[in-house]
């Protein structure tokens, strides 16, 4: 898998992971990514929403407008059954990738 593909997959992996436990809206997703990565990873509007729509087109997440009492409606994204399987596969792939990189880059002892 090329570097570009890994970047793409990692963005997908982040989103799928964050909607695994419960549905979340776009702003919440961007905040969580930033907070949990300690500010190292950021998704801005111009890249976050095209990614969300792409995942939705693929059937991995599903967006729904939800109106809560006294609040404007928001679009919440939930993980679909198909997305859950993709998430499991991407997690495994990512783990293999990270472990491989670690084995290559770890300091060699004389």
């Amino acid at each position: 898998m090329s570097g570009i593909e890994w970047k793409k997959v990692s963005g997908e992996l982040l989103i799928l992971s964050l909607v695994e436990a419960r549905p979340r809206h776009g702003y919440e997703l961007s905040q969580l990514i930033e907070q949990r990565s300690g500010g190292a990873v950021r998704f801005y509007v111009a890249s976050l929403y095209p990614l969300l729509y792409r995942l939705e087109n693929r059937g991995w997440i599903q967006g729904r407008w939800v109106e809560k009492n006294g609040q404007r409606r928001r679009r919440y994204y939930r993980l679909t059954a198909q997305g859950r399987r993709v998430l499991a596969a991407q997690r495994r792939g990512w783990q293999v990738f990270v472990e491989a990189i670690n084995r290559i880059t770890e300091v060699e002892h004389a």
Binding site: H25, G26, Y27, S30, E34, G39, R42, Y44, V45, A46, S47, L48, Y49, P50, L51, Y53, R54, N57, G59, R64, R72, R74, R75, A81, Q82, R84, R85, V86, A88, A89, R92, G93, V96
Partner: protein
Amino acid sequence: MPEKNRSQEPEAGSQKTDSSTTPDWRHEIGRRIAPLKLAPAREAEIVEELVQHLEDRYRELVSSGETEEEALGVALAELKGEGLLERGLRRVEKDAPREAVVLGADGGGGKRLLLASVWQDVRYGLRELRRNPGFTLIATFTLALGIGATAAIFSVVDGVLLKPLPYPHSEQLVATWLTAPGLNIKDLNPSPFIYFTLRDQNRRFEDLGLYTGVSRNITGHGEPEHVAGLDVTSGLLRTLGVRAMLGRPFTESDDEPGSPDTVMLTYGYWRRRFGGDRAVVGKTIIVDGSLRQIVGVLPQNFSFGGPDLALIVPLQLDRAKTLLGNFSFDGIARLKPGVTIAEADADVARLVPVMLRSFAPPPGVHHQNV
């Protein structure tokens, strides 16, 4: 917090709906995506969602001590100039289902007359098509004169799973879904009415199965836990060629609504939860509050549904209550020996009108429009 871009001034086109409150994000986003010429309903939906995001961001910045001007600059910077949003959306939206109303309105002739009343119901456009499987179905099957059904070789899925398929003659396994080229819908998941039709009348598949992922709560035997499950028709295991390691696989009688509640455990779950107890078959566990009898344990190499899959439960579809629509399942089939994908496609396409005649549309959709 994102790094502030203090050097960036509000862009020339930025406006405020009110001189003392929030900027006119709607204008900012609208002009950026206008070149995409999206269907109005879709464009409005995207604008609404992105406006909310920018409003939230702006308020957060202001409440954290930024001036309104600084907050405006930072939020606009996050739109990343003029082209990124448009380019990102262009790539995505070209693959998205289109507002099918346009197709109906332009269809002309008898097709248009046939569809007229449906289109009146489908005026909500793409959003409603997405929300309501019934409408999707109607639009799909009435419009697409060239509609076919496609099956894709299962090795496509294999690529996603990153491992070979451990099933006999896996070259005969195909994932099944429909496509509606007239609506630019590439993948329409199988539905119970499609499943019943193909199961009973197809000529090209040895067997086929329908399944869907479902999370399950397990109680009554050790600590309660939340596990991954699949609801499956019995044909899934036959199609894959999977036998039970212990006990028996699901049979057609397990598929019947009202038959005793049964469950099969995956090898991993059997080992973890039951310590590999071979006497587990015949015992019961509580799945989502209901007693289910364990009829079998799947073999260790059963890798369907991911590594965390704990159990599978019969998908007891009631044919008598099945309506058109409900494209929310996954399907897999085994081609008869020597049958090609194209031959299977042709056979499924032959059955599309049969499907439409055999099942009633959902409430609110008139059958004469199908």
